[in-house]
């Protein structure tokens, strides 16, 4: 079986670990790397060349949309991770 090579970019450690754990339960996906922010994601995408990227939209520094913009034209599929919240102010 060819496994899809996936990378996870998510700034919250527990959320990152959780997604990684859930993906590892599947035998059709291989997690080839994780990143805690957009810059780390770009570096790891360049080195690990994943087939699929799970990308948090709201991250400190480079956000998910910035990463997508950087990689425009690369043809890599992304899955956006987001839980948008209302602001108290």
């Amino acid at each position: 079986v060819t496994r899809v090579r996936a990378l996870i970019a998510e700034d919250e450690p527990l959320a990152r670990r959780r997604l990684e754990r859930l993906l590892r339960l599947r035998n059709d996906i291989e997690v080839v790397g994780t990143a805690a922010d957009g810059d780390e994601a770009l570096a790891k995408i360049a080195s690990a060349a994943p087939d699929l990227i799970f990308l948090d939209i709201q991250m400190p520094g480079l956000g998910g949309f910035d990463v997508v913009r950087e990689l425009r034209g690369s043809g890599r599929p992304f899955v956006g991770l987001e839980a948008k919240s209302a602001r108290p102010s």
Binding site: A86, R87, P88
Partner: protein, 332 residues
Amino acid sequence: MKARTIAAIVAVWTLLALLFAAQVRIDAWYAGRSITPLQALVLSLAGWYGWALLSPLVIILARRLGTRGWRIALHLPVALLLTFLKIAVTMAVLRRAGFSQSNAFSVANVPLNLVTYAAIVATTHGIDAWRRGREASALLMQARLDLLTSQLQPHFLFNALHSIAELMHSDVEAADRALTRVSELLRATLDAGGRQEIRLSEELALAEKYLEIEQIRLGDRLMTQIDIEPRMLDALVPLFILQPIVENAVRHAIASRSVPGTIVISARDHDGALWIDVVDDGVGFAADAVERVGLTNTRARLAHLYGNKQRIEISRAAAGGASVRLVLPFRT
């Protein structure tokens, strides 16, 4: 003034005039004069509509002079002045209409007019106090709703629950504590009842629970420091007043940066006022953003509870982050 309000005012004074028309006839009968029902009605209406016209002025004055302090004494000369003025005008009008002087004065006696003035002032304060109370509870309800909404929204509750689910794999004790905090915070929100104010120590306990839950999610990026003058712990503060401020600090100073940040909550006595500061060392506000920071409900609640004895100061902290200061009257 709305048309409905004006109609209500006219109706009240007309009703009074109708009631007193009977009194006018009886007075005339005792005095050995006879007047027709129509004449009695005209006399009575002339007397009461004078106050209907004066009442907007009295209402404005009542609100200006307030309910406390030496300034309420100013009502006495004003009441006397308006009473004599009103009687003089009414008498002049009635004489023009062909009434004799004695008849005209019978509806315009001084004590009744003074009592009328006092009644307008008392009614104004009564209605205002009732309105303030109603608006304050509406705002508290709104604050509770906002808090519940922010607790039940995906970003907070579901992230917390998923973080806890993950935590169970590595640290069951920590997961247990976290789940307990979530439960305590939800319970506190649902159990608060109708109280407008709680002790600062209780309000801080709520904020700490919230911060502890966020700490699970954000890890060591979120550091907190609480620094309260012991005497201030018993001070009364509006329920849930800290929540939106602390939430803003977490969102803008911590969650948006990858380096660790600290949120400091402090409280102290300053010239008899309670100063509560929520300061972070994040990126702070842009120069123009200070004006735009909303906290709309927070501002409205403080204004209703404490009038002009409160304020919110939003500024750039010395360390570069955001600083929100609540200045409240110190009461226990």
